[in-house]
Every structure is written in structure tokens, then in C-alpha cells.
Symmetry: C2
Subunit: 222 residues, 2 copies
């Protein structure tokens, strides 16, 4: 079960635990400092993961160890780097007014690997605990190449948001996707898809309803 | 997502990827050197795991990366030792006639940790590649204590067979169980349960049908 057994595909680009609404949005409209997911309530969309024993921000003991826990604990398995869009990193748009903003995650970001933030406005890299953020102005294939180098033989996680995942899908670079579809309806926002069936020409799909109410969608290349 | 986040439960005793027939048997009757699972066809019972990309005995590239792959690749995650019954280790019964038998798995057993084989007929420990087999004549609680010490802070996997799992269940020692129920009917053999509902007084249960035809049963303590 070591990574060397993964065969000639080598390092994978994996989407893990990405949450979308029933109508296909990864976040709502009008992202701001106070509302990282715009008009979407992240509590409702992420509740399935927060209820599990492996949820990294868990402060009390307990938590479920059923199906949803498998997905929560698989988040970091075999991952050596993450790629994310700038809107996942912060609410600012355009040139940086200053460099005070260091992400939403406080002094111990949950990534614990190099993270490549895609932006037309690069800034110097910085490190918080086990996570180093790099800022890159390049196309998906070139960013993936850099992330794979930094991952030391491990896989690369594509962290979102939806627009960033779409870019990598359109470039044919994504190997596997796990998308958790919640019962929430958003109506508008950052769209991943109109229907998961859009990917069936290129991917196999397992649809797995969870007792928690979320439906896990697992895609891998045909 | 490190083991230190697992809370005060500390090290868990986990059953992982244990296969039973639709009528609740982990193996058939009449185990022998040629038929480790007795009259049961292990190919039919394990097919779901063998089809996945993470199957450790896979020799060709490819394999599925959907739901069943999550279970296959979770087999060794965070595991520091295994406990198994003697019938999982070999087909012999009674005192050892000689010590030539070193398990079913060849020179590279898939466990890669200390393994504690429960038997009334102890023999000296031996090592094959990354796996060391110890032979212990003791009750479940005492064997679990030894295995937890050997696991170096990680969890312990309870490998089966069915009779061994029943012993640990009856002693209240099992924290989580993943049992894959196949469509095969065996009629007789080594029984895990008449129905998974027998455990509902003590465990939560997620029942997760897989597109491959197997139904994953995930139990964790109430």
C-alpha cells in the first residue's frame, strides 16, 4: 500500500473533500472577510465532516467513525503539496495593498505541506508552522509541475475553489475527485457543475449516499 | 489528523476489511493447505478489494479509485500491530509437528508490523521482511495489552478469523469494525454473526452498499 505500488500513473492530482450545494456551487456570492463562503453557510455544507472523529479542528472527544470519517481522515493521506485559487486563500482582489493577510487558518494551517496559491499578483513565500505558502502566476500545467516537484513523490491535492478545479478539469489534469454534495441550495455563486454527469465522458463515478445526508461523489479517470 | 487528535480513547482496536458471506460466515468448512477458506471461494468474497488501485498484490496498473478503494487503502493506516487467530495463520491444528510453516503469505507478508497469533501451542517468534510473528497463549485482554505496547502508540488491527473477532467482541474490546458483506452464500463455516443487528446494542452502524455488489458495514462504539 505504499505509493510505489500506485503504478505508472505516479503522482496523482486529487480533489479531496470538496463541498458543493445540491445545485452545484462550491461557495455563495459576495465573499468577504466575515463570510469566506459568501452567502453560503459553511456550517451546513461541512457539517458531515465536523461530526466525525477525525475532524482536525475537533476540540471534544467522540465523533462518528462511520462512512464520513473515512473521507475526513483520507484528506491528508499521501499528500505532499496543495494547489489552491487565490479566493480560497483570502477575500482580497487585485494587487495586494499590504502583506498582513496570511490566510484564514491562523498560526497552524491544516495543510502541513507546501501550498501553491494561484494569483496574478505574486508576493513572497512565507511559512506558518508546517505550511509554506507560495504565490504563483502561471497556467495550471506549470503550477502542477512545481507542486509535484515540491511534493517529494507524494500526491498533490487540488484544494479549490470551484473555478480553480474547473480550470484543472478543462486542462485534463485531475486524476481523482471526491465531491460531497449537500442538501443545501444556493441558487448562485461559484459553480463547479450543473450536474456531475458532465464529467462522465472522462471519469468513472461512484455515487455514495451517506447516512448523514450528504452524497459523496467519487470520480476517477476512464 | 495525527493519532494524537484521536482523543482520550487513545489506541483503538480495529477490524478492517473483514469479509463475510451474506449469511454471516468469514470462511467455509474444512480449511486445508489448498483451501485456506475451506469450501468458500476467496476470489468471490474478496473480488471487491482485488479490483481496486490500492490492492497490495496488484501486478498491473489501473484498478478502481472509487468507494472500495477507500477501504482497501485504509487497511494499514495508523496500524502498529495485528492480532490474529491461529487458523488465519495456518491450517494446522494441535501441537506443531515442525516449525517449517511460516504463514500463507510468502517472504513478504502484507502486515509490516508485529503480528500476535493466538494459540494454545506457542512457538518461537520469527521475522519475515517487515513482519514479526509472535505466538501467544493468553486471553484477549492480555493479548491486546501486549499488542498495544508493540504498536508504538498506533492502533491495533484485529485480523480475524470470525471466532477470534467474536472472542474480542464478547470481551468488549473492539472499538471499530469494517465488515464487507458479499453476495455469496456459504451455508456453514466459521460464523461471525447471524445478523449485523446483533451488535446494535453496543455499536452505531453505517450500512454502505458499494456499486461493486458488496455492502460495507461500519461499526463504532455507542
Amino acid at each position: 500500500m505504499s505509493t510505489t505500488l500506485e503504478g505508472p500513473m505516479g503522482q496523482l492530482l486529487r480533489v479531496q473533500n470538496f463541498n458543493v450545494s445540491r445545485d452545484g456551487f462550491g461557495a455563495g456570492e459576495d465573499q468577504s472577510l466575515e463570510r469566506p463562503f459568501g452567502h453560503a453557510d459553511p456550517g451546513a455544507m461541512f457539517a458531515w465532516a465536523g461530526a466525525t472523529a477525525s475532524w482536525p479542528m475537533r476540540t471534544d472527544p467522540g465523533g462518528s467513525r462511520g462512512l464520513d470519517d473515512y473521507f475526513t481522515r483520507d484528506y491528508a493521506r499521501g499528500i505532499g503539496a496543495e494547489i489552491m485559487g487565490r479566493n480560497k486563500f483570502g477575500p482580497q482582489r487585485g494587487p495586494w495593498e499590504n502583506l498582513d493577510w496570511r490566510g484564514w487558518w491562523g498560526d497552524e494551517p491544516p495543510f502541513r505541506t507546501p501550498v501553491f496559491v494561484m494569483t496574478h499578483h505574486p508576493r513572497p513565500s512565507f511559512t506558518l508552522s508546517d505550511t509554506t505558502f507560495h504565490f504563483v502566476d502561471d497556467d495550471p500545467a506549470a503550477v502542477l509541475e512545481r507542486a509535484k516537484e515540491a511534493a517529494g513523490g507524494k500526491d498533490v491535492r487540488l484544494g479549490g475553489g470551484a473555478a480553480t478545479i474547473r480550470e484543472f478539469l478543462d486542462a485534463g489534469l485531475v486524476d481523482t475527485l471526491h465531491v460531497a454534495v449537500s442538501q443545501v441550495e444556493l441558487g448562485c455563486g461559484s459553480r463547479l457543475w450543473k450536474s456531475p454527469d458532465e464529467l462522465l465522458d472522462r471519469y468513472h463515478l461512484d455515487v455514495v449516499p451517506s447516512p448523514s445526508g450528504v452524497t459523496h461523489h467519487l470520480f476517477w479517470r476512464r
